[in-house]
């Protein structure tokens, strides 16, 4: 089996897998509407396709309860009709919007069934990342030549700490596949997931400040293919939020307890690991503090 490198096009042909955040709870709180956002993104996708004839774009919708492929530029069905409708919408995106609408309807039904209103209003990043990696894996395994893949997360929803392990696992698989995960975070908070994803996989992370100039950000930063990145100065984050989520309450924590057997993370001291059942002794930290407490008491009396 030829190595990955030899199977790639010599130049800068890219496969862009775009993870589109369609979390309704996020989009009902933003300054720009989803339609404005979409027009920026669609124009960007068009630009990427125009950069190289062989470029390929896949769009995965990241919903609240589900994910789905909503566009694949390599499928011939997209190129069916070349006549523009009266709105001037390029025909390839008509099918994208159709599928997106269907997806949102389905996602709504699923969310109703789930009915869990306690969940953080996050999108299913772990699911769409896994789908993107599966797609890329298929591309790697088929055909003689394949484009250089990269993933772009376009997300505004806050991180879902309950997805921590799944997201991290996807990130590590992407790292293994040497697929960079670029991330463009358009929300108000900071996304530790996306920062870590881009840091670990060697992608670019950026948080645009002006959302009405999103198209400019996208074309300037995220349109550069992997080959050209060696020659371009891209914005680098100054720090990375490396915090983890605990397994017990799914809280994002700075400091915690780690099971020495299975490496599960906990925010408080447990007698027993809830993952692997190992029984813990009393932690040194507690012991010493209680001893010093006792000491204090003793010295006070």
């Amino acid at each position: 089996m030829p190595s990955v490198a030899s199977k790639q096009y010599p130049d800068d042909v890219s496969l862009l897998v775009l993870l589109l955040d369609t979390n309704p709870f996020f989009w009902s709180t933003t300054s720009i509407t989803f339609s404005q956002f979409l027009s920026h993104v669609l124009a960007f996708l068009n630009a990427v396709l125009g950069l190289n004839q062989l470029n390929q774009v896949v769009v995965i919708a990241t919903g609240y309860s589900s994910c789905e492929y909503i566009y694949d530029s390599s499928l011939t069905s997209n190129h069916g009709s070349f006549e523009r409708d009266r709105t001037g919408m390029p025909p390839l995106f008509a099918s994208l919007l159709n599928k997106l609408e269907d997806f949102v309807t389905k996602d709504e039904e699923l969310s109703r069934e789930e009915g869990n209103e306690d969940r953080t209003p996050s999108c299913l990043l772990s699911g769409s990342l896994s789908m993107a990696l599966c797609y890329i894996q298929r591309v790697f395994r088929s055909g003689h030549l394949h484009p250089q893949p990269r993933i772009l997360c376009l997300q505004g929803s806050p991180d879902g700490p309950e997805q921590y392990v799944a997201v991290m696992n996807s990130i590590f698989s992407a790292q293994r596949l040497m697929v960079p995960i670029d991330s463009c975070y358009i929300g108000v908070q900071n996304s530790a997931f996306l920062q870590q994803a881009s840091y670990i996989t060697g992608g670019v992370h950026h948080t645009p400040k002006q959302l009405d100039g999103l198209f400019q950000y996208l074309t300037t930063i995220f349109a550069t293919d992997l080959h050209s990145r060696g020659f371009v100065q891209l914005p680098k984050p100054i720090g990375v939020d490396f915090r983890a989520s605990c397994f017990c309450h799914k809280k994002t924590i700075d400091m915690g307890y780690i099971c020495s057997v299975c490496l599960s993370i906990f925010c408080e001291h447990h007698k027993k690991c809830s993952t692997c059942g190992s029984v813990f002794g009393q932690s040194k930290l507690d012991e010493s503090s209680s001893v010093s407490d006792k000491k204090k008491k003793a010295s006070q009396t």
């Binding site: 989803f34 709504e108 645009p208 680098k236 057997v261 692997c276």
Partner: protein
Amino acid sequence: MAGGQVEKRVKYKSSVKDPGTSGFLRIKEAMLLFVPDDPKSDSKLKVQTQNIKSQKYTKEGSQKPAWLNLTNKQGRSHIFEFGNYPDMHACRDFITKALAKCEEEPNKPAVPASTEQLSIRELELRFKLLKENSELQRLHKQFVESKVLTEDEFWATRKKLLGKDSIRKSKQQLGLKSMMVSGIKPSTDGRTNRVTFNLTPEIIFQIFAEKPAVRQAFISYVPSKMTEKDFWTKYFRAEYLYSTKNTAVAAAEAAEDEELAVFLKPDEILARETRQKIRRVDPTLDMEADEGDDYTHLMDHGIQRDGTRDVVEPQNEQFKRSLLQDLNRHAAVVLEGRSIDVDSEDTRIVAEALTRVKQVSKADGETGKDANQERLERMSRVAGMEDLQAPQNFPLAPLSIKDPRDYFESQQGNVLNAPRGTKGLKRNVHEAFGLLKESIVEIRARGLSDPLIKPEVSFEVFSSLTRTISTAKNIIGKNPRESFLDRLPKSTKDEVLHHWTSIQELLRHFWSSYPITTTYLHTKVGKLKDAMSNTYSKLEAMKESVQSDLRHQISLLVRPMQQALDAAFQHYEADLQRRTAKSSGGERPNGYV
């Protein structure tokens, strides 16, 4: 209390004409110590100050190098050549003071404190460590010479270094060469039939160790029956016969000469040892199991020795040794190593020592006659029925992830029970999805917004991106992997690093002095605190002195150091307050610490 000391690089000369040995001169009140750089050099020197009668020195203006000449009471003189005059004067003044002190208290023992009773060996070790580790040397210079810490305090935290070094110093036993004795080829001159073997003490040791019969023969024959030379000639004649593989000739010679036969016959002592070992082998071991591994019968297989195939002929078996036997025996001896500590040229001593060692180990091997009994017992123990044995309880717990979903998905139970702060976000699912769908319908109806982006916005985006990139470059550096330290000028970098190490040293001593139980500790903490506030102001000065573009980063680096120091100061103040409060509370007389 060590009353201070002076330590300088000097060259020591035992006489004026001596070219001199370079090393360290360390002068304490009680004695004067010279340690040469070369540890093998034997010009180490230790002079009690009280033994010094007078000192002379070269004048500064003269062309001569800076010499200090000490004469002791026996009239011997020691000359030290210094690198420069100030060094020499420092030493000279010190000695003068020490001498004066000695004269003042002639009756007092010259060794005032236990600190002085260090062995020279330990001092040497300290010197060596200081010499090898420039960072340590700097710390030592900074703190010991400025009397913030005493010599002993300084080294007390580094016992590990001292200990490790002394272990390393212990003599390592020399092993044996792994080359086989039979590898010693006889050399022939080609013209005559004479064959020459070269014999060294090491080879003799190896022969004795590998062939107990030869050793035995040596002890019984030499020198009563023959000379040592005759003995070895005979031995090598046997070896030669053996190497020719002419077993018939060997048999014939052995029949004629009974001493020669000893060398040619299988080693009886070895055989006995082997039998003993076999007896100790686990009785349940199935020796036949690996018989199939033997494939010497295959073509092109077999062991080459001296270029010929080692084929075992059936006849004259007793004059044959197989290569494997030799190899095994040799390997055993090499692994055993040099078991005797006799380093003698005398072959007989070596042979006797070896015999003694063997006898001891043999005695160890068969303690008592019930060896056979023990063997039987062991057999019955090993041959226990598996199903009758109690289950073995190992003190370990296997990793059991009962439900992998616990690991990869959420542990829902906890999540549901945990109170969440998102209650306020109770959303209307229907409304939210409705908005989203409306947006999609809207874009389908109206198409992409036109113009997509306003030129002003674009411009703003570009300028903000440029700003972000350039500031990031300033902060992270051109190469994100490059540490900020590497961008500092070398002197500043060194200074920062040195401050770190010295602060660590001070803090280690500071915290280890608590709780303060003695006056000694109290004064020590006071000294440490002064030194720390000194360092603190140095840090401030450094922060001020760097260029403005580096200042921010430097202050980031310095902040944790200052925080650590602040914590120590706080503790010091709090402790002091507590003490004064206590003492003024009347429990103790005022002013008592």
